[in-house]
Amino acid sequence: MNESDTLGASLVRSGVSRRSFLKFCTAMASLMALPPGAAYAMADALSRAQRQSVIWLSFQECTGCVESLTRSFDPTLEQMIFEMISLDYQETLQAASGEAAELARVEAMKSSYGKYLLIVDGSIPTKDGGVYSTVAGVSNYDRLIEMAKGAAAIVAVGTCSSYGGIPHANPNPTGAVSVSDIIKDKPVMNVPGCPPIPSVIAGTLAYFVTYGKLPELDHIGRPKVFYADTIHDRCYRRPFYDQGKFAKTFDDEGARNGWCLYELGCKGPTTYNACATIKWNGGVSYPIESGHGCLGCSEPNFWDNGSFYRPLSTPLASNTHIIAAGTLGGIAAGVVAAGLSRKHQTHIGEEK
């Protein structure tokens, strides 16, 4: 391998010092709770690795995930991931457009066939032949199938590509599905969140570039390093939950005292994400710290879990009409049963 092709060399060319690279690796290792020594190994491996070819496909999405990554408060550190990858196709970020852009994609696919990392944000509409979202006249569905073939692995960034997200929400007019609903023969990692935490996107990509494989995933395809604990497990308000102290409204004494937001519909207990530890906007805060319950955006179907303000322990819907119908049915059944018994008894009485 030519040394000038290595990531280390290219970093130097673009003015990134090796110390800052080591610092990036240390921060990423700490973030992913890798063993502390792993940072050096990571830095070593990365500096000698080739730049990872990445093709980023945006489907039925809002670009929030890309915004999250590129507009983070701490651009230099997280954005360094862009120094480590060769982002060969990204509609929002690339300079090329039109046929030139598509050509770049085909080019990258050919040159790195079997090795490139495919990143997807946005869900894939499947209804009516996938006509609801197309790029260059090709449906997202067809494009995903095409691009997945040569990918070493696929990373679904954001809840839409991970689980269908908001487009998938009831009644799901476009028949939106997730990447893993379609692609079954490639490793797929989900990095959900609406949007995901930038460091989490960067960290998981760094892991793949370093180790050439996806990190350990949980049962719904999320990297365990970031999604092993619930928001609730790591929430600074947790002691109030344990004591049974709950804010009842957003402006009561409990809310002012920073009590638990469970009763205001916080989905923290069932939401697996790193918001409570990594936080947002460069570690400034996260929703609960700002006084609002967790929406559960990194979980499948978060949009369909009733109101954001409906507590977890309550039924999702109050189907009083069904229950009322059951009650009336019960009365009818009781009347019939008693009637039959009475008739039977009268019959016996007459027999005598």
Partner: protein
Amino acid sequence: MDLLQFARGPALTWAATVFMFGITWRLVGILLLKRSPDFSEARNATSWLGAVKLIITRSWPRREFRQRTLFAQSLGYIFHVGLVIILFGFAPHILFFKALTGLGWPNLPSAFIQLTSGITLAALIVVLVRRLSHPVLRLLSNFDDYFSWLVTFTPVATGMLAVAHFGARYETLLAIHLLSVALLLVWFPFGKLMHSALIFISRGTTGALFERKGASI
């Protein structure tokens, strides 16, 4: 739809429907059976007072029976009171009722609920052991007794695990807890758990009939 959504959604809806369907079916089916008028000359005209009296006083044993039933009565009280405290004192449960009825009330500290749950579970286990070992209870017991015990025990146990986040992921534990409640609701009208409603009717019936005669209640 994941397990928790199923538990919070269709499972609870249908369980509640079966619950209401079964309860009304059973109660109406009993109460609409024939009733013969009583032409005998009443000793006490205010028989409803007897119903009230028996409903209240039968909640503890007469002095004469106290010695022989003290253990069983205490045990019954412990787990019944425990269940009431857990059901109506725990904040998430209050939210559940509030979502259904719009009525809310202050909750008890979670640690106290956990302690109560522990005591209740222990009492329920003693109840089962007693049922399995006492000759009279063993003779009387049938599927209903054991199954009703199970559907009472399970929500308490799974609830404790869910609160402690122990044994599985919280959403799974919560789903299992809610499903166990759904099972309880579905079984409730068809087994002995109906005694929570029938106790008033049964006691009231005897109380009224006996007060009419001036008989001992």
